[in-house]
């Protein structure tokens, strides 16, 4: 569904993405992890077309993206920080998005009920709490029922109840065959929601594979400890030969 090859991006002299090769097949739930500044957000923003790459290519359903914009009909994105025009009401924002996307918002009511946003609909967005704004963001991302969903640290500002409902919702979307991509620093959340892990370190992919594989290879039980070990000791992790013959590290890193 999304194929990325040798993706590069620098901001000034700072190389953020140093040649990313990645394929995200349809229906896969992927968690993107990595330390702050590893390039997670830049990677997502490049796929979304917010950031223009310096080199490499992104193919979407087999078609190379080059200033395209229609492919975003298939994408729902929930940003890390949800801020909207202050004077707009929630209902107006939803109407505005509906007019802009020209797609049927089949899950509009369902999501509003699920996130208990009914009482907030007539309030201006500036009066909403951070968590409620996050929920509005989640509603906007999912209501058009797009086949691909991006969530950038989705539960950071949600209370436990909302967070639980959000995860239930994402799990349901996953079951319905949606491609889900989540970045998060909360590893337990990724364990629940995703079955595939991409570990970014310093602009390169350190690990790309099934969650189970990562756990067996690192000998840890929890994702958190496995990732923490990878972050702590990049050298040590580069050394062990893969006993079961599976490729653990991306090619570039071995060369480097």
């Amino acid at each position: 569904m999304i194929e990325i090859s040798n993706l590069q991006k620098s901001f000034g002299s700072l190389e953020v993405l140093k040649g990313i090769d990645l394929a995200i097949p349809k229906g896969q739930a992927t968690g993107i992890v990595g330390p702050n500044g590893a390039g997670k957000t830049t990677l997502i923003k490049t796929i979304l077309g917010l950031v223009k790459q310096d080199g490499g290519s992104i193919r979407f359903n087999g078609k190379e993206l080059d200033g395209d914009w229609l492919y975003r009909r298939d994408i729902g994105y929930m940003p890390q920080v949800a801020r909207y025009p202050e004077n707009m009401k929630v209902s107006e924002l939803i109407e505005f998005m509906k007019g802009l996307r020209d797609q049927e918002a089949i899950y509009e009511q369902e999501l509003i009920t699920q996130f208990s946003l009914d009482s907030e609909l007539d309030k201006p967005l500036r009066t909403l709490s951070g968590g409620n704004r996050q929920k509005v963001g989640a509603t906007l991302a999912m209501m058009f029922n797009p086949p691909i969903l991006f969530f950038d640290e989705p539960t950071a500002g949600l209370d436990p109840r909302s967070s639980h409902r959000f995860k239930e919702r994402v799990a349901k979307e996953k079951e319905n065959g949606k491609t889900v991509i989540i970045t998060s620093h909360i590893m337990s959340e990724l364990e629940q929601l995703t079955d595939h892990v991409i570990f970014l370190l310093d602009g390169r992919i350190r690990f790309n594979g099934a969650m189970k594989q990562l756990l067996t290879e690192s000998g840890e039980e929890r994702l958190e400890s496995a990732i923490a070990r990878m972050m702590d000791s990049p050298e040590e992790q580069a050394a062990p030969a893969n006993e079961d013959g599976q490729q653990f590290l991306s090619e570039e890193l071995k060369i480097a």
């Binding site: 077309g49 914009w69 801020r83 025009p85 202050e86 007019g99 802009l100």
Partner: protein, 263 residues
């Protein structure tokens, strides 16, 4: 096209609800009203009004443009990830915020002129002042947009440049030109002065006002040279043509930056 209108409409509604555009219109209303009351009818009143307009409109428009970019960063990013062309989005946002500002100036100024009967008597002059204010609004709002996009991360720098550019174009420019003329008075400077005055949209607008009102004493050096060189009609036309170029240039620049920018 549908999306363009949709975005513009949305900006209008949000702005009107913000109420301060209405405040901006009220300022011009009070200003025009008091000038008309205390200064009598006459072209002097329109002239004073245009002087205030030449100083005030560029500053407010530019600050407004840059402030919009800084305030709406997340919203712009939300729009950018929708299936919308970047060009359409740029024009939607720009026209959506600059046209209410333009309308606020025009309506606020025109109302007192209308009920004092000036719009009927000095139709051409009043129209010119209103139109120039509108054009300057668009020019400087788009300059504000450009500055906001260029200094997306560095707000202090963005605002700094805004103030400096305004100070330079609205206040210092004429003084610098005069100084140059004073220092190099022995050389034939007419062509140079004409070129220099064309590089400043506020100067162009001022020249057009002065040519229309035909007040040599207030024309300033650039205005006088302009009239001697082109004559009133051709001078006005040249100035209007240059102003149109000025209108197109920052908008096009903004569009270019917007299309290539990493958000």
């Amino acid at each position: 096209m549908k999306n363009l209108i949709h975005i513009i409409k949305n900006e209008w509604r949000t702005l009107l609800r913000g109420k301060w555009v209405i405040g901006y219109a009220l300022i011009f209303l009070v200003l025009a009203e008091s000038l008309l009351r205390f200064g009598g009818g006459g072209s002097e009143t329109l002239l004073s009004l245009s002087s205030v307009m030449l100083l005030f409109v560029p500053l407010v428009s530019m600050i407004y443009g840059i402030l919009y970019i800084y305030q709406s960063r997340e919203f712009i990013e939300l729009l950018l990830i929708q299936p919308v062309n970047r060009g359409v989005l740029y024009w939607g946002l720009f026209l959506g915020i600059s046209t209410p500002l333009m309308a606020a100036f025009m309506v606020g100024t025109a109302l007192p002129l209308a009920w004092h009967g000036i719009l009927g008597v000095g139709a051409a002059e009043s129209m010119l002042v209103l139109l120039l204010g509108g054009v300057l609004t668009l020019i400087f709002a788009s300059l504000g947009f450009v500055l906001g996009l260029l200094f997306y991360e560095d707000r202090i720098k963005g605002f700094g440049f805004t103030i400096v550019i305004w100070l330079f174009l609205a206040v210092l420019y004429d003084g610098i030109v005069l100084m140059l003329i004073f220092s190099f008075g022995h050389y034939p400077l007419e062509r140079f002065v004409i070129v220099v005055s064309m590089l400043n949209p506020i100067d162009l607008a001022r020249i057009m006002v002065m040519l229309e009102f035909d007040i040599s004493a207030l024309m300033g050096y650039t205005g006088a040279v302009f009239r001697r060189f082109f004559g009133t009609a051709a001078g006005s036309l040249t100035a209007a043509g240059m102003l149109t170029l000025w209108l197109a240039a920052p908008m096009w620049w903004g569009l270019r930056v917007f299309k290539r920018k990493d958000f």
